[in-house]
Every structure is written in structure tokens, then in C-alpha cells.
């Protein structure tokens, strides 16, 4: 069996064992067959298993984050507290409550997007057309940075309605772009397959081309933008990479936002960033769906293997028990037969002794009527069950043949050949 193609989910499902598929054309519930019931039961187990895994994953992540971040947080806290104390001590006419009040106001202003640090004379607003465009984009793609957010009631209500309509719209767009990406990719692969003269299996070609796709995409959509951001925004390399990943998976924390700092940006910077987000999202969606497909193929394969092992074990036990039953039956038949023969010989002898020794013993004919299919199947089954050695003397050798009593079951019926 050729190795299932990891990349093509369709072929992966082709190569799986008996598929439990549901007919869903009419939406009515079809009378469920046994197999369907089994499938839903199994899925429940898989679901709970995966769910447990996710919970474990979360707990593990929480523990790691805590160990990594808490020291930093305490350090920050100490630093800012000492700053506050220093400020208060240096400027003795300010008392603590006044300062706290100011800070509270400042913080809430920040949350509204107004930055009181620095001169407030610069005329750049957070809600000029290009920034609002950017914000609308972050809402629709569900990235949701949060460095800008609506603060009026009207703004919020509009945001809800806007998102309700815009998110599906963007979803369709993304589907279209992703499809085109996939098409281009597939066409490229087909061309490569045509040109490649070497004897490489199709699977290998697909694997290699997927790797190339991933690498090339990473270069184009991750590494290059990260370098650009590092240069323009002045972030470190890790911060740029962090921003790219957080944005393209639509997590969108908002601690780093391209175009969100107080730098003089070129006019076309923000639209280009938006376009990059669109295509990058499609790329990331492709990658993540591939990862998901692989995970599913892996889980399916392990399920299959477990299923295969179980099937083997069941078959083996069935064979063994069948063989034992058969043997028992044959032995009992043989004993009965021998008894009958002994009785008839005794009768003959007694009649001969009593009458005349002229009659000859005719050699019983050796007729073999074999049900070939049965024998082959049984042989195969015996082979698999490893019981081959056990049954050959009974079934085949010239010495011993058994009377099959039940021709309906297709047993081998062979008349005994007296040696």
C-alpha cells in the first residue's frame, strides 16, 4: 500500500480502512446503521481525549508563562514604585493623592488612545481616515489590536454591527484568496511533476514542494516583513517576529502595532501593511490547516493501527476457536468411524469364518472432493493465525484423512484411504 499522501487529505482518506461515512444528502436523520453508531461513540472518546490534551496544554503553558514573566513583572513594579517615591520626594509640594489622581486620569486617557505624554499639539489623530481604516481592518479580520478602540456608545454599537457583517465578508475574501494561492501552488506542483525526469515518487515530490512552499512563504510573509518592521519601527528582531506571528494568527495583542508609534510614516506604509496582513493571513491559514490536517492524519493513523491490531487479535482468536471446534468434531467423528469399521470388520470376519473366505476386501476408493475456496481461505487464516503447522497433518497428508460429515458447510470431505 503506497504511503498515504500527507498533503492531500483526499488521498489520505482513500487509503484508510473501511470508512465510516454518513450519508448526509437529506438532512433528515437516516436510520442509523450499526457502523454509524460505533463511529459516533468513538468520536466522543477522541473528542474527550483531545479536550483533556488541550486542558493539559493550557496548564503547561500557564506554568511556563508564570515562571517566565512573574520575575519581570515584580521588577517592573518595583521600578515604577521607586520612580513614584523618588518623584514625590523630589517634588515635595505634590502629595500622593494628587499624583494618584493624575495618574488615574492619564491612564484612562491612554486607554482612550490619547497620549498625554509629549506635546498634544501634533495634529495626528487616532481617528483620522487612514487610522480608522486600519481599525476597521483589524475588526474585520478579528485581529483586534486594541491600541485604538471605540469609546462612545454609538461607536461601540456600530462596531458590533459592523463586525457582524464584515467578518463573514472577510471570511469569503480569505477563502477566495486562499483558494487562488492553493491553485497557484497546485499548478506549480503539477508543472514540476511534469518536468521532473527523475524517478521520484509523487509523495516525495509533494512533500518537498510543500516544504518549499512553507519556506518560501515564511521568507516572503514572515522574514521580509519582520526585517522591514525592524528597520522602520525600530523594534528588535524578536519583537518584529513576535509582532508578525501574533498578527498573522489574528491574536493581535496590540502591544506592538505597525504604524502605531509616533514616527513619521510614509504615505503608502499603512495600506501596504494592510495588504500584507490580508495575504499573510491566507498563507498562515494554509499553514495552520496543513498542521491540523497532519494532526488529524496522525490521529487517524494511530486509530487505524489500533483498530488493525484489534481486528487481527479478533481474527486470531476466532480462528483458534474455530480450529479447536473443528478438531474436536473431527476427532469424535474419527473415533465413531473407527468403531463402525471395527464393528463391520468383526461382522465380516465372523461371517467369513462362519461361511466362506472368498469375498475380497475391496480397497475403498480414495475420493477427494475439496472445496477449494474453503481450503485456501482456511489456509490463509491458519497462516495468519500461525496455526499452520497444527492443521496440516490433519488436512493434507497422505496418511490420515477425515470424513467430513457436513457437506453444506463446505468442509473437506475425503474418504479415508486405508494404508
Amino acid at each position: 500500500m503506497a504511503a498515504p499522501d500527507l498533503l492531500d487529505p483526499k488521498s489520505a482518506t482513500h487509503n484508510t480502512k473501511p470508512r465510516l461515512s454518513f450519508s448526509t444528502k437529506p438532512i433528515t436523520l437516516n436510520p442509523r446503521e450499526e457502523s454509524e453508531v460505533v463511529a459516533t461513540v468513538m468520536k466522543w472518546k477522541t473528542v474527550s481525549a483531545i479536550f483533556l490534551l488541550v486542558v493539559l496544554y493550557l496548564v503547561m503553558g500557564a506554568a511556563v508563562f508564570r515562571s517566565l514573566e512573574q520575575p519581570h513583572e515584580s521588577a517592573q513594579r518595583l521600578a515604577i514604585l521607586s520612580q513614584k517615591l523618588e518623584f514625590l520626594s523630589r517634588h515635595s509640594c505634590v502629595n500622593q493623592s494628587q499624583l494618584e489622581e493624575l495618574v488615574k486620569q492619564v491612564v484612562s486617557a491612554i486607554r482612550s488612545g490619547v497620549n498625554p505624554a509629549g506635546t498634544l499639539n501634533n495634529h495626528s489623530s487616532l481617528w483620522d481616515l487612514s487610522s480608522a481604516f486600519f481599525f476597521a481592518g483589524t475588526v474585520i479580520t478579528t485581529i483586534g489590536f486594541g491600541n485604538i478602540s471605540p469609546h462612545t456608545e454609538g461607536g461601540r454599537i456600530f462596531c458590533i454591527v459592523y463586525a457582524l457583517l464584515g467578518i463573514p465578508l472577510f471570511g469569503f475574501l480569505l477563502a477566495g484568496v486562499g483558494d487562488q494561492l492553493g491553485t497557484i501552488f497546485g499548478k506549480g506542483i503539477a508543472r514540476v511533476e511534469m518536468f521532473v525526469q527523475w524517478d521520484i515518487s509523487q509523495t516525495k515530490i509533494r512533500v518537498i514542494s510543500t516544504l518549499l512552499f512553507v519556506l518560501f512563504g515564511c521568507l516572503l510573509f514572515v522574514a521580509l516583513p519582520a526585517a522591514i518592521f525592524k528597520h522602520i519601527e525600530g523594534w528588535s528582531a524578536l519583537e518584529s517576529l513576535y509582532f508578525v506571528v501574533i498578527t498573522l494568527t489574528t491574536i493581535g495583542f496590540g502591544d506592538f502595532v505597525a504604524g502605531g508609534s509616533d514616527i513619521e510614516y510614509l504615505d503608502y506604509y499603512k495600506p501596504v501593511v494592510w495588504f500584507w496582513i490580508l495575504v499573510g493571513l491566507a498563507y498562515f491559514a494554509a499553514i495552520l490547516s496543513m498542521i491540523g490536517d497532519w494532526l488529524r492524519v496522525i490521529s487517524k493513523r494511530t486509530k487505524e493501527e489500533v483498530g488493525e491490531i484489534r481486528a487481527h487479535a479478533a481474527e486470531w482468536t476466532a480462528n483458534v476457536s474455530a480450529e479447536f471446534k473443528e478438531t474436536r468434531r473431527r476427532v469424535s467423528v474419527e473415533i465413531y468411524d473407527k468403531f463402525q469399521r471395527a464393528a463391520s470388520i468383526k461382522r465380516k470376519l465372523s461371517s467369513e469364518l462362519g461361511l466362506s473366505p472368498a469375498s475380497e476386501l475391496t480397497l475403498p476408493k480414495k475420493t477427494v472432493s475439496v472445496n477449494f475456496n474453503e481450503e485456501q481461505e482456511r489456509e490463509r487464516g491458519e497462516k495468519e493465525a500461525g496455526l499452520h503447522g497444527l492443521t496440516t497433518p490433519l488436512a493434507k497428508n497422505g496418511g490420515l484423512f477425515l470424513n467430513g460429515l457436513d457437506p453444506e458447510r463446505g468442509d473437506i470431505s475425503i474418504i479415508e484411504h486405508l494404508k
Binding site: T24, N115, L126, T142, G254
Partner: protein, 336 residues
């Protein structure tokens, strides 16, 4: 033989026609999307800008007032404010009451991991250290598809009692399939809105002191669509009672709510399939239809080899517009 080549030719022509049609549709979508964004930008701008200007002038007045009545000079104040704001960006507040609870205790870290993995990403507290950032990248890259897989699996399991069974019941009472699905979808939507928007919003507006009911609904919506702006995050008030339990409860709510949104979306997709919309707009079908296709491997093999729409890398695109991070496809790791 002749008929077969004619068939092939017809199919190729049909393919070409559909290919050009798909390009047309795509450009149409992009144009529409750009227009939609522009419209949104205009509206947001006109609503929010005056408020922002007013806030700016308020801030300026506050600063001036502070500076006037004290001995602090402007530069010292600016420096101090800058430092406060940097600390605040990372969730460290300089105000008096918040020195006890940490942002990175186990419950909050788990909440953070959850927002990372469901791609909501509030951003009210973010990793400070470089190691934390690097770990977030790795964690997200693995955790996001994983979560999507779980959610999809759960939703598939839930479809039977919540969708197929009721629709079956409706059909048995004599309705046609199409109206039955439409009726069921509206009912489901109303139910989800009541249970996952209105009710939790009431709870949140009661527990969180500074939130109004509208704020709470806004929060629920922004979270369940995984936009996660982060301007409202529950459980962040200083002196919050039972904070760990509260945070875990919010996590559960987010997860289940997300699942229900998925379910809604899938039901809608099935309905659109049934009504022929997906065919018309050339969008990917709901994947159960594809399972039926898989049953004819022999026939499909040839055209599959030739047609370039190969590995359905991003096929599920449409099925996930709403949810998790709108990574439409990976959200719909629907093949399972």
C-alpha cells in the same frame, strides 16, 4: 471513445469557465471589501473624533492645572508619565491598591494562555521578557491549530443533538427541508444570543462595577468573535473577590461560547449549501458533502491529477469567517 473525449472537452471548458468566474468573483470580493472598509472608516472617524478632541483638551487642562499648583516642572512630569505609561502597557499599575495581585499568577497565566490559543488576544497584559515572547510564538503556532481541531471535533459531535435531530423532527411534521433548516437556524440563533450574549452580559454588568449592560454585551461580542480589543477585560479590577475562580469561569465561557459560534456558522454553511448559495458563489462546500465525493476514488483520480485545485490547503475558507481568528481555513479543520 468519441463521447469520452467530448466529455473531457466539455469538462475542460467548464473548468475554464469556472476558473475565470472564480477570478471575477475574487476581484469582486476584494473591491467590495475595500469599499466596506472605507465606509467603516468614515463612520468610525465621524463618531469618535469629536470625543477624542474633547478628551485631548481635557488632558491638557489637567496637566496645566497640575503644573500650576505645584513645583513640578514640565519635563519632570513628562518623564514620570512616560515611565508610568510604559509600565501600564504591561499591566503594571502604579496606583495604590493594585500591589497585591499579580498579573501572572497561575489563573491569570492560564487565562493568558487561553486568549493566546483561541486567538482572542486581549493584550491587557502581554509578555515582558524576551523568553516569554519567544515562547508565545511557539505556543501559539502549535496551540492554535490544536484548539481549532478540538473545537471542530466538539462541534461535529454537537451537530447531531442540536441540529440534525431537531431538523429531522421538523421535517417529520411535514415541512420541506429548506424552510425547516431556515426555521431551525433562526431558532438556534435566538437561543445562542440569549444564552451567550444577554445572560452573560447581565452577569458581567453585575459583577464588574464600572461596566454598563451595553459595555458587557460589547465585551461578549468582541470576545466571542475573537477580535479581543482588550479595552474591557473582566476580572481586572483591583480587589476582585475570588479572582482565580472568576478567571477560570470566564475561560470556560469563552470556550463554550466559541464552540457555539462555530456551530452557528456551520449550521449556516450547511443551510447555504442546501439552498445552493455556495455553488452560486463558488465557495467551498460544507465538508460532509466532500465525504460523499470520496466514495468514488476511481473516477475522481484522473481529474484530480490534472485539476490544479489540489491539496485543499485553504479550502475551508468560507466555513470559518466568523470565528477564531478568521483564519478561515485552519479554523475549520473540518475534515475530521
Amino acid at each position: 471513445m468519441v463521447s469520452r473525449s467530448a466529455d473531457v472537452r466539455k469538462r475542460v471548458k467548464g473548468d475554464m469557465h469556472s476558473v475565470s468566474r472564480s477570478w471575477l468573483l475574487l476581484t469582486g470580493f476584494i473591491l467590495f471589501y475595500v469599499i466596506y472598509l472605507l465606509l467603516g472608516a468614515l463612520v468610525f472617524s465621524s463618531i469618535e473624533r469629536p470625543v477624542e478632541d474633547r478628551l485631548k483638551s481635557d488632558m491638557e487642562a489637567l496637566k496645566q492645572g497640575f503644573l500650576n499648583q505645584s513645583c513640578v516642572n514640565a519635563t519632570a512630569l513628562e518623564q514620570f508619565l512616560r515611565k508610568v505609561l510604559t509600565a501600564n502597557k504591561y499591566g503594571v499599575s502604579v496606583l495604590r491598591n493594585s500591589s497585591t495581585s499579580s498579573n501572572w499568577d497561575l489563573a491569570s497565566s492560564m487565562f493568558f494562555a487561553n486568549t493566546l490559543v483561541t486567538t482572542v488576544g486581549y493584550g491587557h497584559n502581554t509578555p515582558l521578557s524576551d523568553a516569554g515572547k519567544a515562547f508565545s510564538i511557539l505556543y501559539a503556532l502549535i496551540g492554535v491549530p490544536f484548539t481549532m481541531l478540538v473545537l471542530t471535533a466538539c462541534v461535529q459531535r454537537l451537530m447531531y443533538p442540536l441540529v440534525y435531530a431537531p431538523v429531522g423532527v421538523l421535517q417529520r411534521t411535514g415541512m420541506d427541508p429548506r424552510p425547516a433548516t431556515a426555521v431551525h437556524f433562526t431558532l438556534l440563533m435566538v437561543l445562542v444570543m440569549l444564552c451567550f450574549f444577554v445572560a452573560p452580559a447581565a452577569v458581567f454588568s453585575a459583577v464588574e462595577v464600572s461596566w454598563s449592560f451595553l459595555d458587557a454585551i460589547y465585551f461578549c461580542f468582541i470576545s466571542l468573535c475573537t477580535i479581543g480589543l482588550g479595552d474591557y477585560v473582566p476580572g481586572e479590577q483591583p480587589g476582585q473577590k475570588y479572582r482565580p475562580v472568576y478567571k477560570v469561569a470566564i475561560m470556560v465561557y469563552l470556550f463554550v461560547g466559541l464552540m457555539m459560534m462555530y456551530l452557528l456558522l456551520r449550521t449556516f454553511h450547511r443551510m447555504a449549501d442546501l439552498h445552493g448559495l455556495t455553488n452560486f458563489l463558488q465557495l467551498p462546500h460544507c465538508e460532509e458533502a466532500e465525504l460523499d465525493d470520496d466514495r468514488e476514488p476511481i473516477i475522481e483520480d484522473e481529474p484530480e491529477r490534472q485539476s490544479p485545485a489540489s491539496p485543499r490547503l485553504t479550502e475551508e475558507g468560507a466555513t470559518k469567517p466568523l470565528e477564531p481568528g478568521s483564519q478561515p481555513s485552519y479554523n475549520t479543520i473540518n475534515k475530521g
